[in-house]
Symmetry: C3
Subunit: 336 residues, 3 copies
Amino acid sequence: MHSLTHWPAVSDDDWNALREAARRHQQAGATWTDDARGHSIGLVFFNPSLRTRCSMELAAHQLGAHATTLTPGSGTWDFAWNDGAVMDGSEAEHVRDAFGVLSRYYDALGVRVFASLSDREQDESDALIRMVADAADGPVVNLESARYHPCQALGDATALAAHFGKEDLGGKRFVLSWAPHPKPLPRAVPHSALLMAARCGMDVTVARPDGFALDDGVMEQARTYADAQGASLTESADPDAAFSDAEVIYAKSWAGNAIYDSPGAEADQRAARGDWKITADRMARTASGAAFMHCLPVRRNVVVDDAVLDGPQSIHLPQAECRLHAQKAILEHVFA
Amino acid sequence: MHSLTHWPAVSDDDWNALREAARRHQQAGATWTDDARGHSIGLVFFNPSLRTRCSMELAAHQLGAHATTLTPGSGTWDFAWNDGAVMDGSEAEHVRDAFGVLSRYYDALGVRVFASLSDREQDESDALIRMVADAADGPVVNLESARYHPCQALGDATALAAHFGKEDLGGKRFVLSWAPHPKPLPRAVPHSALLMAARCGMDVTVARPDGFALDDGVMEQARTYADAQGASLTESADPDAAFSDAEVIYAKSWAGNAIYDSPGAEADQRAARGDWKITADRMARTASGAAFMHCLPVRRNVVVDDAVLDGPQSIHLPQAECRLHAQKAILEHVFA
Amino acid sequence: MHSLTHWPAVSDDDWNALREAARRHQQAGATWTDDARGHSIGLVFFNPSLRTRCSMELAAHQLGAHATTLTPGSGTWDFAWNDGAVMDGSEAEHVRDAFGVLSRYYDALGVRVFASLSDREQDESDALIRMVADAADGPVVNLESARYHPCQALGDATALAAHFGKEDLGGKRFVLSWAPHPKPLPRAVPHSALLMAARCGMDVTVARPDGFALDDGVMEQARTYADAQGASLTESADPDAAFSDAEVIYAKSWAGNAIYDSPGAEADQRAARGDWKITADRMARTASGAAFMHCLPVRRNVVVDDAVLDGPQSIHLPQAECRLHAQKAILEHVFA
């Protein structure tokens, strides 16, 4: 049994095996292992989910495993997280006890717990999912934590292999583009897309306005991956230049760096960057056959125009479908 | 694979095959097809449900299929519906993307989306479930839309065949009776009961106060069915007369026609019709062996007196049970 | 098929058979009956749940049965309970109809409905779960009612047998200790722990402050069990004395007797008893090898100190795990 919480902790061998397995599941009629059959996973969503929940439940079922979905606060109670908490408030149970119990029922647990965007230290250390993994007496799958969303990353790599018709993505020009949004969003998805792209050997450009740099540690990890693959990693504050000749545009909004110290200033900076919306004009600068990707849910006509999403370049629906194939690879890996 | 969204679009052959299949499922020990085995259905409830959800989940399980139930806004997010929406408000995902994704996970989708009772054009055109069907890349089952509730209709036909001990319901005197209610209610159930009764060749009376006529298009469709069966379709504003010698009383409240233009007036008209409550006295006017039906949930002692519901004429519990048998027939049909 | 609603109504033979079956399920690789296979249970939670829901769903799945979980008010509607209710308010469906229908879908129902702590007569007569059992046309499992929590009791007996390494718990010194809590809590768990301990022949002490006596009828039933086993049942208002040489400390908060007539006075009395918190010092008075138990969820550092819960005496996690084994025994019993 394997855990999948801290994304960069997955070895190169495991990462490549996961990619192969997800592609195998994508191919109708393919055979797969019996590793998940008869096992159970408890899925705990502290934040909403559509794709992750449905794809994981269905993946479990189709592999002969059982999944239970829990949403704390709706049908169960709120949890306390801090060590030494004197629990005389509204939280009825400590994470240590809840996950201690759940990991005795289920063969594995999956947990979604987003970044707070208010407690920098907690978010940067991915403290909450670490507490869960610590409390659990068994494997834990990260269904999106403050810093990482490995299930998304594996689905994305699968979608790209299908799009390009080959497993080796080395040398493809991949642009992770910041996009406007009415709300400040966590960075788990852009972090994971960046690490995925670098690890797959793509030449990566992070296109983002000033004040919207990704976390230093994640950038450094991505640079290590890129160096190992002989690929490049650059940043750009000019979206038009970044899009030129790109083969993949991966759009995603995330909060600016002011979010922890000055949320009002961050909101103003974000609102001032509405011109980063992905338009058909901007997409026209990309290379022939380039793909537009988004992890969904997407704010139409704010993040990206309908003309792009409903046009021939967008692969957001097959990309979402690949989540199902990736979840199967992950479940086999966890239960192996 | 078949869709089941627009109720009158189901052919006579399909309707008769569905009725036979539901009755087969009703008979303990009966054999059935293997058409649903191994398939999956995603059930999306924009409105609450008890019978439809439970009967569909259990039907799927008992046929070897898998069902996931989703309730937008609870554990997932709210959806935008309009074409060209600029999504800078609270809706996080567009129906086009959500159902585009879900239909790539599940072999079929089921959707419940009630009438708005505020947007007449949207309700009369059944616009929302059409948008869902349009977004989905696979079959969609109507779990109650603005205009139709085909699952209920098939369950009702099954319950009537069991009640009368024969499949041919031709010539039975069926009264669809309006009833009082504290809230204005959609018309999907009365529409579907009316169409079901007419298509089964029953002589139908719609008993309802002035101002509470059903939709013209549905009445016209029902008349076409009745003519084809050589049966009658009449309306009455006198419940005592309508109940006389009836063999089936199907009680249901629905909103008056003023609901879209003058909700206050509609509420007054509705409140003035408390004497349409179904009482034991009124039921005593029916024929010997007559059945009282209601789709549930029912407001006791407002819609109908306890004495009727708990008396020997009411078949509301076996009627509800038939929902399970009908869902199995529908799943086989959808996956065939 | 058997019901399991009124806890003391379970015969001695059934109780002993349930204990044996739960222990059998606890032992990895053990064989069990096929009684639950292919059956279905509908779980209705009027109050939140973590352990009961997860353990019951997973137990059903692992035995080849199907469970559906419903939470009224979330995805379905609120129910009316009273006989003769004129349902012109917010409740959309009567319990009589809802459970009448559900018991026609599912082979058995499970229901959680807590004490009101405001209507004494309703709580003492366990009126709500009796109404459910009356409405249902099939077996009903008590998932915690106003007075009883039999699933918890069977899990607790299973955990104690495992802790002491033998099935016969006769003569063990069992202390049910009241504990502080910020909210007034129902008595179903302390009632069931008391009855379980007495029926297993343990020497029981109920340690609780003045004003916090358990229900007379339950105390009397426990005394009958104790007498039949030749065991003792005493009460103590001195926790230090009660803990001395105890072999099991079962901690639980419950509301004081003033709750129905004078909730403010009850809150004051409860708040004045913070010194009943279970500390490492107090636990040091117990016998060598003594176990600390709690049904969970537990308010850390209010009910009991971290030092106890995270120390070697606490068996709260294996105790919670035994809920899963107990549910399997209960499902087999219900479907047999």
